[in-house]
């Protein structure tokens, strides 16, 4: 026939693409032949929080091919461009394959026993001399559920400290507090189906086309099929998302806080709200105001029940009179007429309205408030918990939800929405863990920014960092790096490649990644996805769970982890699952996840998933006929919060006249350790650039690709200018992505944080810009 293997592979490539667009009958000849000898397994994608399902093809112990999983309901057979790097990200030449111990300025190869013995001796010494709160662990929203669970049990139930944090503090913490103080339970009521079923999508500072491309494609599919669909991009920077939007509404940084209040004002003024929904489902609250920005060490701020005042609807309306559209325009830059129009869109009974947001809202010195205000819009108009109309908080990491939030690897959390401050929660946790409840400390541990400041103060003697790169990703980075370079704290780093964090470690441990181990991830829409190990990790690399349990044994805590070698992942899951039963966050037995492309919790008694929470349409915790019931909230009522405007921590002035914001690009994911490693990706986007508005560039005499020095009060970097490139910030603003390990962009960022969520504001600080 003359057909070569290459022809077969090409046929297979075309067949997969045809199948993904719903034309599987167009299956070219030879497509099957290409797949001889390949074993396929399913896994969620390693990169972002969307949770696309991928089929991984293994031949002779190596990944040779990947496919968008046609059976995956999230992505229906298609991946974004990051899919090109999925398996290759594991095969970089500089993979870490042996434990390394610092000897002076050198890292020297060691055995696992030597490395683990050393770590255990340092932790034991610190705990015995300075108490359990002198040690810490810093993990990840990329940890599998099992890894996060073991870390939590080890630190909180074993060592007896709550100094356990995930990097998700930097991305999702404001969303978490927003969910908790509004609905009494973390994570969305809606799901991705809303992207297909709605007709109006309002994006608050989210560049979905680059950060959540597969979800954005679903949205665009909906738009191409249904002319009624409207996409409104409210943002501080023109992006690829803007290109596809029906309308772009430019907004000043921090303007969301004013614009949202302005829209709510109009809804109240013109009685555009849903009165019966309000009567049945809403309480009005006012919290603590004039909050600080976390710039002083150990600045304590909390909103306790004693600080919260209940309001009547009338009192709330009275308070909101302040925030006229004209006032909102003066602060946000969004014209008053547009504020009025947005109020009408949100309350239009013929429209199914969805709000979407991510880091623009969460990495915000009043991020919780902005989350609250978005929920206010949906609660006041009753556009919530209904198919096709919901607010949806998007996540950035593959298991920020599944691990960091659901397992609760934050300094204050325990599994399934429980917290360490609550005695009953500690008791329940101790019961499942088989320990004395007194072992779990009621004291909230150090949140991320404070944790790294405590290293500077020499209060943290040992820290173990797994699966994340804080010495590139933290704000006010020079300060944090200097504290680590002082070498007072003993720093352990588990990772798969050398990073800007491993370079500051005392011990580096080589980890297994993705399908080199078994695991579970949980995505943005409450979907829990399981995968099996498909290939061996390189050299002596070991999965993080194994590392933690081996360490625990050396700490005399081995009894907490009585799992079998073969069934470990399932056994950990089944133990963890006990926390969720009967809570409205119920998870399924492990076996169920091995067969499907994920299930969205709460899992019903018949084993099926729940698409929409709090509604009798779908959620079995609500009786038929009850309609909508916020059953996790006190009195079954969600809170509408009065949240006024308060200014950002730092604004441009004469000396530092520009706003600076950081973020992500399509081809690079976070600090680039898995995408930047791959040479081809570096070529597509060689290094970070600074985006400027063309008029600002002209005024400063800066041309495209000119080197530009960006300086804040905390640091200074030189970057090539990008003018009229992929993204264009509004006048007076500049933008740079943070993936580039050679240019530590986050040295510019201020370490101000939201007083409630303790999440830093990476989107706003003041800089000066000069041709270098």
């Amino acid at each position: 026939m003359g057909l070569t293997r290459r022809d077969f592979i090409k046929a297979s490539a075309a067949a997969a693409a045809f199948a993904a667009v719903g034309a599987p009958m167009l299956r070219p000849e030879g497509a099957e032949a290409a797949e001889a000898g390949i074993t396929w397994g399913k896994a969620p994608c390693r990169y972002c929080g969307v949770g696309c399902s991928v089929l991984v093809g293994v031949k002779d112990g190596k990944i040779v091919t990947t496919k968008g999983d046609p059976a995956g309901p999230v992505n229906k057979g298609l991946n974004c461009i990051k899919g090109y790097f999925l398996s290759k990200a594991l095969y970089g030449k500089d993979r870490l394959t042996k434990p390394l111990i610092r000897k002076g300025n050198k890292m020297v190869e060691a055995t696992w026993d030597e490395a683990l013995d050393l770590i255990a001796s340092k932790y034991r010494q610190a705990v015995s001399q300075h108490g359990p709160d002198s040690v810490a662990m810093y993990g990840s929203g990329q940890w599998t559920v099992q890894e996060g669970y073991v870390a939590s049990k080890l630190m909180k139930g074993g060592i007896g400290t709550n100094n356990l944090e995930p990097n998700a503090r930097l991305c999702m913490a404001s969303a978490v507090v927003g969910f908790m103080n509004t609905f009494g339970s973390d994570e969305p009521m809606g799901c991705y189906d809303d992207l297909d079923l709605g007709d109006t999508y309002i994006l608050w500072g989210a560049n979905m086309a680059e950060a959540h491309p597969v979800l954005f494609s679903r949205l665009i599919d909906n738009k191409l099929k249904h002319p009624k669909v409207r996409l409104i991009d409210i943002a501080t920077r023109k992006t690829r998302t803007t290109k596809m939007a029906d309308e772009y509404i430019p907004m000043r940084p921090h303007g969301d806080l004013a614009a949202l209040n302005g829209i709510i004002h109009v809804i109240l003024r013109d009685k555009l709200y849903d009165e019966s929904f309000i009567r049945e489902h809403i309480s009005f609250k006012r919290g603590k105001e004039n909050a600080p920005y976390g710039l002083k060490d150990k600045e304590a701020f909390n909103e306790t029940p004693a600080d919260v005042k209940g309001l009547s609807f009338d009192e709330y309306k009275q308070l909101m009179k302040l925030f006229t559209p004209q006032w909102a325009e003066s602060v946000s830059g969004i014209p008053a007429g547009k504020i009025e129009e947005l109020a009408r869109i949100y309350s239009d009974k013929s429209r199914k309205v969805n709000s979407l947001w991510t880091m623009g809202v969460n990495q915000h010195s009043r991020g919780v408030w902005v989350n609250n205000l978005i929920y206010n819009l949906h609660l006041l108009t009753g556009k919530i918990c209904k198919p096709g109309e919901n607010p949806l908080s998007l996540t950035g990491q593959p298991s920020a939800c599944g691990t960091a939030r659901e397992v609760g690897t934050f300094a204050h959390r325990l599994p399934a929405d429980m917290v360490v401050m609550n005695e009953a929660h500690r008791k329940k946790t101790a019961g499942i863990w088989g320990i004395d409840p007194g072992k779990i400390s009621p004291k909230v541990g150090l949140h991320t920014v404070e944790l790294f400041r405590a290293i500077e103060r020499d209060e943290i003697k040992c820290i173990w960092i797994q699966c994340t790169n804080p010495f590139q990703s933290l704000p006010n980075l020079s300060r944090v790096r200097k504290a680590a370079q002082a070498r007072k704290a003993f720093i352990v780093v588990s990772d798969i490649y050398p990073t800007r964090t491993t370079e500051l470690a005392d011990v580096i441990l080589p980890s297994a990644s993705w399908v080199e181990k078994e695991g579970v991830y949980g995505n943005t829409e409450r979907r829990t996805q399981q995968w099996f190990k498909m290939i061996d990790p390189p050299g002596e690399a070991k999965e993080d769970t194994w590392q933690l349990i081996q360490f625990a044994r050396r700490m005399g805590l081995g009894h907490l982890f009585p799992y079998s070698e073969k069934g470990m992942h399932r056994e950990i899951w089944e133990e963890y699952r006990k926390f969720t039963i009967g809570t409205g966050k119920d998870l399924a037995p492990y076996q169920a996840y091995t067969k499907v492309r994920g299930l969205r919790w709460p899992i019903k008694p018949d084993g099926s998933e729940t698409r929409w929470r709090y509604t009798d349409l779908d959620d079995q915790n609500v009786k038929k006929g009850e309609g909508i019931k916020f059953y996790k909230a006190p009195g079954n009522k969600a809170n509408v919060w009065f949240r006024p405007y308060e200014p950002p921590a730092e604004s441009p002035d004469k000396a530092y006249p520009f706003w600076f914001s950081t973020g992500r690009l399509l081809e690079h994911w976070h600090t680039g350790t898995m995408t930047g490693r791959v040479p081809e990706l570096k070529r597509a986007v060689p290094g970070a650039t600074i985006e400027l508005h063309p008029e600002d560039a002209k005024r400063l005499g800066i041309k495209n690709r000119d080197l530009v020095r960006i300086t804040s009060r905390r640091g200074s970097v030189v970057l090539p200018a990008e003018i009229n490139g992929r993204g264009t910030p509004e006048k007076g603003s500049v933008f740079a992505a943070f993936f580039d390990e050679n240019r530590l962009i986050n040295e510019l960022c201020i370490d101000a944080f939201d007083p409630l969520s303790k999440e830093p504001d990476f989107k706003k600080c003041a800089v000066k810009v000069k041709k270098a």
Binding site: R5, R6, I9, K10, S12, A13, A14, A15, A16, A17, F18, A19, A20, V21, A23, L26, P28, A34, G57, K59, V64, T65, T66, K67, G68, G77, L78, N79, C80, I81, G83, Y84, L86, S87, K88, A209, P213, V214, F216, S217, I220, D221, L224, K225, R240, M244, E667, V678, P679, E680, L681, R683, A684
Partner: protein, 77 residues
Amino acid sequence: MPVSGIVVTCSSASVDTVALELAKQDGIEVHGVLPEGRIVAVVEADTVDAEVELVSGLEEIEGVVSVQLAYHNFEEL
């Protein structure tokens, strides 16, 4: 030499011109132009490097809404 199967989504008005544009590029074969502005293509290049450059470049073509990856094979050929 890696091979990938991609789906290029276009605004329906521009699907034919985009398909012509794709067909002109070395390393891209158009296998089908489907309703709703979708194009199925196969991408071949010497390295994954070159493959990604090709595919990233497609996003810049006028009328292209998104480029998605359905299949990627990088076994040694």
